[in-house]
């Protein structure tokens, strides 16, 4: 797993800026040009953007231009993949990236609009990811589904630990 025991990591701020949004902000010790790359180049995204339970990003296709498509698939998990498709709406390196997302199993209740901003200050960059759901009820439903899934996965993980499969983590 992660081996950054020594270095203190920055905290992740999760907020609800409006009734149909969820936002997440985090500071990185790197210039924004590098961060923009890590969000837009498939070879780099595959290095870090994992799914729940550390599923690797197996498919990452990006046509980085306005109206260009994106396709991400994580897995396999029990022979299946978790997939998401979208379209780029705004590409303004290295400050801003806007794209739509639709999940294959539609757990977010329709398309979501993701706005990424990269703000640099004194060599550090704040990355803010704002997800706008199609409605307030879609956001609430997504939160509920996300919770149910999270719980199932947490339970799977607990079962694995109890079975001694992941004893290297304990």
């Amino acid at each position: 797993m992660t081996t950054n025991a020594v270095k203190k990591t920055e905290t992740l701020q999760v907020t609800m800026p409006s009734e149909r949004e969820v936002a997440m902000a985090r500071v990185f010790d790197a210039p924004r040009e590098l961060l923009f790359k890590t969000w837009t180049q498939p070879a780099l995204l595959k290095r870090w953007l994992y799914g729940p339970e550390e599923w690797p990003l197996a498919v990452c296709e990006i046509d980085l231009r306005v109206s260009g498509a994106l396709r991400f698939e994580w897995g396999p998990y029990e022979g299946k993949y978790m997939g998401m498709s979208g379209v780029y709406r705004e590409i303004a390196p290295p400050d801003r990236l806007v794209f739509t997302e639709v999940w294959d199993d539609n757990w977010t209740g329709g398309e979501t609009l993701v706005t990424m901003t990269f703000v640099e200050h004194a060599g550090k960059t704040t990355v803010t990811q704002t997800v706008q759901y199609s409605s307030h009820s879609a956001r609430e439903a997504a939160l509920k589904t996300g919770m149910a899934r999270g719980m199932t996965q947490a339970y799977d993980r607990l079962a694995e630990i109890l079975a001694g499969k992941t004893n290297q983590e304990i």
Binding site: N4, M24, L34, K37, R47, G51, L143, G146
Partner: protein
Amino acid sequence: MATLKALAEPSRFQIVELLRNGPRPVGELVNRLKLPQPQVSKHLRVLSDAGLVDVRADAQRRIYELRPAPLQELEVWIERYRSIWEENYQRLDGLLEEMKAKEGKRRRRKR
């Protein structure tokens, strides 16, 4: 943590979802879950021990209802969401260090 463990079991999560619409007698939960009564009772006991549900007697029936206090589901979900992204972002920290080191080398070579 007791809340999390109690909710981790899909049938128990389903019971909580059913009770969100109001108190229900055991019989109705059995019908909705399509599970044998002893199994449902066992799940209800776990939920009750975790402080998630309350039980009261109404003539011959036992009525279960949700206790809202421990169920701060938004916070639970946020924690889950947060943990996935924290792990991803820690990996990204490592990748950025690698990229910065490479850029540094390139810059030094140019000089």
